[in-house]
Subunit: 329 residues, 2 copies
């Protein structure tokens, strides 16, 4: 889209003022962080990366494919299966209609899952021509580390003390993520304060502040899921039910821009094993990943309920509805 | 104005969402407050009153008219003089034009000033029919407690430790206010985090969050000042120079409403001697006062620079420009 953003309308001013007052380079913390220091970032709704903040965790020190297999021996796990590593993302079906497509969820033994993921991860890293039929990702965001993967939970921190003390609450959910470089999480936002901890491999984040609503081209998408047909091939199947409001712009690809998208200055950060990311509530994030030599990427995240009191939530909501109203006209 | 606010436009939704998620009754703190607790209020941009937080200060314990006279003997002070206690406020001149009118600033000895203020304060409190020609108020907001009134400074806290530690800065300005019940400060906002401390008498605050911009009817007012004519009578004199954007709605009076004003739910709080108020950056506040038995009201406030990084400032600015744009059409 070649159209320029309107030079002096309130939305252009909002995005450019924010960009002038805030760096698009993420703050880095090393050493230690106190609850008060953390609260200063929460107050500004600004992310930071805490390098090495989890480097001493038992998970960071000991997890690898054989160790995880031993710990989870014989357990069945929920796996998101997609043809392109595109779980929960805006995808066009055969008719070219843009849908919000959820993965095919299947249960398999952890051994079968991790062997598939790691062998694929190594194959993709070492071969220029591999063509993969399906991508698997353990990504149930339902507090799985305290449930499905409970045997691993003692290897990570129960809560994040500086966040628990500052926010005066224990985590609402703690999630484990295991996949390989073929899975990407599409640009989206969550109503949570998020502490993201890299254990194995790398995660690459592209972050946008909540007030960039008008850049992300939120659309109401019909819901759908991948399902296997009789030959086991993954097909998109539309569901009934309410449409899903979802960002359709990808900051790394042409297409689906709004007139404001070019004003966005995504903040980019790569997490290495042992690094922690504070991803503030309502920030848009797109997440891709790189594998360890074993062909896997593993992370843990802690969701804390966000504060709906105060100004941030109503004001972000206002930026969203104002953006939608302007883009509709 | 009988017109109803548009039921489903983004500004109506902004104000009503905020009111649903936030009480219009102020939080009260007693006992103690830590930097971290304070920072949680800063993060939400929400006020609180700290009852008795300054009750042990030497100022609170010892200041009265004779003591202040002794401390400031022979000193000349800057006094704001107005006919109605309306320093720095939107006022109509003889032609009915609404102007931003500053007070007549005069120097007099502290003894002369405090005798005038306190005798008037007692007279007004005890007589049903007094008619006052002029109102005096010591209200220079230029760090006066560390300059003009420096001899009093050792009687108050140098900074507010829980605020200094949380905000990582010393106060930008510390101001002393001395007046009587006839002075009122018109609804306005400041780009500062403000800790307000009551020493003598009472202050009555009406507070509105920054996102209520569309309620306050900001207008561009020509600047003016009170000046004495040859008979010593205070007259409004227009100045040249840029117009001043200023709220013209008074939450306690009919007139100057916008279509959104009825959505506002002012938060009201009265400070007693020794109470402290955290007045967050950008909050609109109207301040009136009641006198002690000596006919005066005295307060001290600490201004800390606000955080322009993060989301709050750009989003509040956006609410303002959106409100102005909608009200203009």
């Amino acid at each position: 889209m070649d159209e320029e953003p309107p030079p002096s309308d309130p939305i252009t001013e909002l995005i450019t003022t924010y960009n002038e007052l805030n760096s698009s380079v993420i703050s880095e913390i090393t050493g230690n962080i106190s609850p008060l220091e953390f609260m200063r970032y929460v107050a500004r709704n600004r992310p930071f990366v805490f390098r090495g903040g989890a480097s001493e965790w038992e998970a960071t020190q000991t997890w690898n494919v054989p160790e995880l297999k031993a710990l989870l021996k014989g357990q069945s796990v929920n796996v998101a299966v997609t043809p392109k590593g595109n779980a929960d993302s805006p995808t066009r079906d055969g008719d070219g209609e843009l849908l919000f497509v959820k993965p095919c969820e299947e249960h398999q033994t952890f051994e079968e899952f991790i062997d598939f993921v790691s062998q694929q991860g190594v194959r993709v890293a070492t071969s220029a021509t591999s063509s993969e039929k399906e991508i698997r990702y353990a990504q149930t965001q339902n507090d799985n580390l305290r449930n499905e993967y409970a045997t691993l939970f003692s290897h990570v921190e129960r809560d994040i003390p500086w966040a628990r003390i500052a926010l005066q609450q224990v985590p609402e959910a703690i999630n484990l993520w295991i996949g390989n470089s073929l899975s990407t999480t599409a640009l989206h936002k969550d109503n949570y304060e998020n502490i993201y901890v890299q254990i194995i491999g790398q995660k690459h984040f592209a972050l946008l502040p909540p007030l960039d609503y008008a850049c992300v081209n939120e659309q109401e998408l019909p819901p759908a899921s991948y399902m296997r047909d009789e030959d086991g091939i993954l097909k998109i199947v539309k569901e009934g039910g309410e449409k899903v409001p979802f960002a359709t712009w990808d900051p790394d690809r042409e297409g689906n821009e709004t007139v404001y998208s070019k004003l966005a200055t995504p903040m980019r950060v790569t997490l290495m094993p042992g690094d922690m990311l504070y991803l503030p509530a309502l920030w848009y994030h797109k997440v891709s990943q790189s594998c360890s030599e074993e062909g896997i990427c593993c992370a843990v995240n802690y969701w804390f309920d966000m504060e709906f009191g105060g100004s941030l939530y109503p004001l972000c909501n206002f930026a969203r509805s104002s953006g939608l109203a302007v883009l509709k006209t």
